[in-house]
């Protein structure tokens, strides 16, 4: 594990809290405003929640990223869960299969600057998001 990278195992609802706290701490350390740190922490909370609700367990990786003349944070949520059969549908507001959340992915997309999702039914899901410092 390189410096500036934190991995948080997500196995229970308690881990959602610790993942978002670590994310906020890292964002603050990277110089994000407190408002942006809140957006990042909220996105992490939703991504970790998806892992707990849909896959049961997985992990969240937080790392510093360098762009052209800018610095940011990357959050990668991955699991070996059932995967998402229809990603396009999952990115539509109001979609939910667990019947309770539904706003997760489109909401996370709005909170962050970059959003990438890879999912294979039966193999798992990886959601990678980035936010750049203003």
């Amino acid at each position: 594990m390189s410096a500036g990278e934190i991995r948080v195992a997500i196995n229970s609802d308690q881990d959602i809290v610790s993942a978002r706290q670590k994310g906020r701490a890292m964002a603050t350390e990277l110089g994000f405003s407190s408002g942006d740190a809140t957006l990042i922490a909220t996105a992490i909370s939703e991504l970790a929640r998806n892992i707990v609700s849909y896959a049961g367990k997985g992990q969240i990786t937080l790392k510093m990223v360098n762009g052209l003349n800018r610095r940011g944070i990357a959050v990668i949520a991955d699991d070996d869960g059932p995967g998402i059969p229809d990603i396009r549908q999952a990115l539509r507001d109001g979609y939910s299969t667990s019947g309770s959340l539904g706003l997760g992915l489109p909401g996370v997309r709005r909170l962050m600057d970059e959003f990438e999702i890879t999912s294979e039914p039966g193999r798992g899901t990886i959601v990678a998001v980035k936010k750049w410092r203003q």
Binding site: D13, Q14, I16, V17, R20, Q21, R24, S34, G35, T38, L39, A41, T42, S45, E46, R49, D93, S100, L101, G102, L103, G104, P106, G107, V108, R110, L111
Partner: protein, 120 residues
């Protein structure tokens, strides 16, 4: 983590901490409604000033708490949503529709006093 619930006359005041897990929120939901029954409370103020993140689960739980308490014939007011948290909630698409909100505890109590006055 236990959420402290303070009884102030006919009003219960629940103060949220920063790091509430889903289990804590579920626990609070039942606890609050039971206390409303036990004390015949007329209103509940949920103070979320310390909450760092209001995600989909937390806001759904708050809505459910407010609806359950309304079924008991009491009022709920959510107070202290921080500006940054409010911004994140809007970005995420979360609403607290049908739930009364106020700036802080003081405003929440003032809102309830006004409400009780007009219904009496």
């Amino acid at each position: 983590m236990e959420v402290p619930i303070l009884k102030q006359g006919a009003v219960l005041i629940a103060t949220f901490q920063a790091a509430l897990s889903d289990a804590d929120l579920n626990h609070l939901r039942m606890g609050l409604v039971q206390q409303v029954v036990k004390f015949r409370s007329r209103a509940v103020i949920v103070d979320v000033t310390a909450m760092d993140v209001m995600d989909s689960f937390a806001s759904r739980t708050l809505r459910e708490i407010a609806h359950m308490i309304r079924l008991r014939g009491a009022e709920t007011v959510i107070v202290g949503i921080q500006p940054e948290v409010a911004f994140a909630m809007v970005q995420l698409g979360l609403t607290l529709e049908g739930v009364a909100t106020a700036l802080d505890l003081e405003e929440g109590l003032a809102y309830l006093n006004e409400k009780f006055k007009t219904t009496n």
